[in-house]
């Protein structure tokens, strides 16, 4: 069930990237896709009824720590990408005074 929901989120994200004309909405779509992949990884390592992988006395039955470690890296990369994409769209807005990708393409062609 959780896997299906994750893939639903993934498709929503892809729809946001592909279908939306607005640059900011595209970036939001990118973030949603990224989060869906992160959720997918976390679900791979997850087991019902297990605890966080902090090894102390009495802790048995832990989840797989590797996907969680990997996803920390992915989250950092996602933040970098989002920041860069927002900066680029700000630059484009200052240049073309619009955030609509099809209009920007038209304006850039005439330049």
């Amino acid at each position: 069930m959780e896997f299906y929901l994750t893939f639903l989120i993934l498709f929503i994200g892809i729809w946001g990237i592909v279908g939306k004309e607005n640059l900011i909405k595209k970036i939001i779509g990118l973030n949603i896709t990224n989060s869906a992949v992160i959720l997918f990884f976390i679900l791979i390592g997850h087991r019902r009824g297990s605890t966080a992988p902090i090894m102390e006395k009495g802790v048995k039955n832990v989840v797989d720590p590797l996907p969680q470690a990997l996803m920390l890296t992915t989250i950092v990369i996602g933040i970098c990408l989002t920041a860069l994409a927002l900066a680029l769209s700000l630059k484009m807005y200052r240049k073309y005074h619009t955030l609509d990708i099809s209009q920007i393409e038209k304006l850039a062609k005439d330049e």
Binding site: I14, V18, E21, K26, V37, E111
Partner: protein
């Protein structure tokens, strides 16, 4: 355990950090150049040093990060293929750096991201951990997004944004593929994946196909396969010239080599046959667009895609000969494509113009640039005795069982000749004419005045001359290089000795040349001009190219199921 692979990644990263640390000094720009140049030279020397291990002792250099051995820890591997791409990367990076010293007054940020890009490239080829490969891919991509937008012009920023969105979507798909692999076999080390992640090892076939499709499409965006290449022409056109040479010359190939490695490890043979078709279409279709271009750098950028098609096609055949041909063409293409970009950069530097129609008769003003451009053009169009001829003949020989892809590649070669004759006219066309003799389009008069020309500095000429010599050398010793590639990198013997300079091969290239001249004559007629103007306007936007990514993913999964 050997620390050579580690140093190749650490040195550019360390130099990049050093550049950021010293930027408060007054003489920081000079120091920055010194640091970046010396770090690139040091990594070249280190790769040269590793040649002893790879070629003579024939061993794989392994470094376990943090002392954790495989499959638990991250491990750096340097085998023949990694050595080859690492060496090529270091050489092209050194040339680009020397070229950039005098071209423009680049700030320290340029050199910082340049070195980060270099570190990312070395990391992608050297790592033996698939998630680590993803991280290095992102390092490489973020550096290249910023370098593409370096000029801060509207088109450059748009190209960078397009590349960012398309490539991040691809990277998400790649990451999903990694997740499926981890779910299937519980390991991220490539060696371990090769052992356990296979259909024989209990992975359902549909899951296997989905995984490989996700990975191939995800990285394939960076390697510019046919429906995924739409970001590339803009991105490679509006970057600073040294970066276009680096991106076209080596970065797209490194992405392709990553696919090569993954497919090799997963033994996804069905996919390999799919590449023959993808590759031959990739060779032909961009040529149609390239013929209609008027921007000199954009024309070259389309040829980066087209030449990648040649490499991918012969990779798809999968025999020892064709794999050798593929690597040989990869080597040659990095030489001549960076040579072509450097010489076009010289033209833009000297005249300040990048429109084909406005340039003509530059031969006398810049003979060095013109001659090296001529050598690059002869190489890319496959005229003997230059290197393009050798590798294209090898590819044609290896494609004997596939007549239709061979024909598509033949057509692509004809188109290549036509558009390079067109480009050559900026040097050979008439000087200071009042009518527009040089261009093929429009009715504008040539606005070219000879006194505007700046002198091209020596630092920009040296890389041109060296690359021209390399193009020539790799063309006249074909048997050594083919044997070297097959014995040391692929670790297989060629089935039979190959004769490159045979009568039939030279005859074929002559035929292509003549047909190319006819095609050139056709596109300069009125009718041809009208067609190319129409094609020029048919450039799909960002949304369409994103849609094509999704469509090609679906097609990939379906076709892999059928084959």
């Amino acid at each position: 355990m050997n620390s050579i692979p580690l140093f190749l990644i650490i040195i550019p990263l360390f130099a990049a950090c050093l550049i950021l640390l010293i930027n408060f000094l007054k003489t920081h720009l000079r120091l920055t150049r010194l640091i970046s140049l010396s770090s690139t030279i040091i990594s070249l020397i280190i790769v040269g040093f590793s040649t002893i291990h790879i070629l003579i002792k024939k061993e794989t250099l392994i470094y376990n990060l943090g002392g954790w051995e495989q499959p638990i820890g991250i491990c750096l591997h340097m085998d023949g293929l990694a050595w080859f791409s690492s060496l090529l990367g270091a050489i092209i990076a050194l040339f680009s750096l020397i070229y950039s010293l005098k071209e423009k007054n680049y700030q320290y940020k340029f050199y910082f991201f340049f070195l980060i890009l270099l570190a990312g490239m070395q990391g992608v080829v050297l790592t033996n951990d698939i998630f680590n490969m993803f991280v290095f891919f992102e390092i490489l991509s973020i550096a290249s997004y910023i370098l593409i937008a370096y000029s801060q012009e509207g088109k450059a920023i748009k190209a960078s944004f397009n590349y960012l969105i398309i490539s991040s979507l691809g990277m998400s798909l790649f990451l999903l593929g990694i997740g499926l692999i981890y779910q299937g076999c519980g390991s991220l080390s490539l060696t371990q994946i090769g052992k356990t992640f296979s259909i024989k090892g209990g992975i359902p076939p549909s899951m296997f196909q989905l995984t490989v499709s996700l990975i191939v499409v995800g990285i394939g965006i960076k390697a510019a396969f046919i429906p995924l290449h739409l970001w590339l022409p803009d991105a490679h056109t509006y970057t600073p010239t040294p970066i276009s040479a680096l991106l076209s010359g080596i970065t797209i190939k490194i992405s392709f080599l990553a696919i090569w490695r993954i497919i090799n490890i997963l033994e996804a043979i069905d996919f390999q046959y799919l590449f023959v078709w993808i590759g031959s279409l990739t060779a032909l279709i961009p040529v149609i667009w390239a013929l209609s271009q008027t921007d000199i750098k954009k024309l070259l950028a389309y040829y980066s895609v087209s030449q990648m098609g040649f490499i991918i096609t012969s990779f798809g055949v999968g025999s020892t000969l064709s794999l050798t041909a593929s690597l040989y063409h990869l080597l040659n293409h990095s030489f001549f494509k960076s040579l072509l970009f450097f010489s076009m950069g010289g033209v833009i530097y000297a005249t300040g113009k990048r429109d084909l129609r406005k340039l003509s008769g530059l031969f006398k003003k810049m003979p060095y640039v013109a001659v090296s451009f001529l050598i690059g053009a002869l190489s890319i169009s496959g005229i003997p005795p230059f290197n393009g001829f050798v590798s294209r003949s090898l590819i044609a020989t290896s494609l004997k069982k596939y007549p239709l892809p061979l024909f598509l590649i033949f057509l692509a070669s004809v188109g290549t000749i036509a558009s390079f004759i067109k480009l050559m006219m900026i040097f050979l066309g008439k000087e200071r004419t009042k009518e527009n003799n040089s261009g093929n389009f429009g009715k504008e008069k040539s606005e070219f005045f000879p006194d505007e020309i700046k002198k091209v500095p020596k630092a920009m000429i040296y890389p041109l001359i060296t690359l021209s010599i390399l193009c020539f050398l790799s063309g006249i010793f074909p048997s050594w290089i083919t044997r070297g590639i097959s014995n040391f990198i692929l670790l297989k013997d060629l089935p039979y000795p190959i004769k490159i300079y045979s009568f039939s091969n030279i005859g074929k290239s002559l035929l292509i040349f003549i047909l190319g001249i006819f095609l050139y004559k056709f596109i300069t007629t009125k009718y041809g001009k009208r067609i190319s103007l129409k094609i020029n306007q048919m450039e799909p936007g960002l949304n369409n190219s994103l849609l094509l990514v999704i469509v090609s993913l679906i097609v990939f999964v379906i076709f892999a199921g059928i084959v």
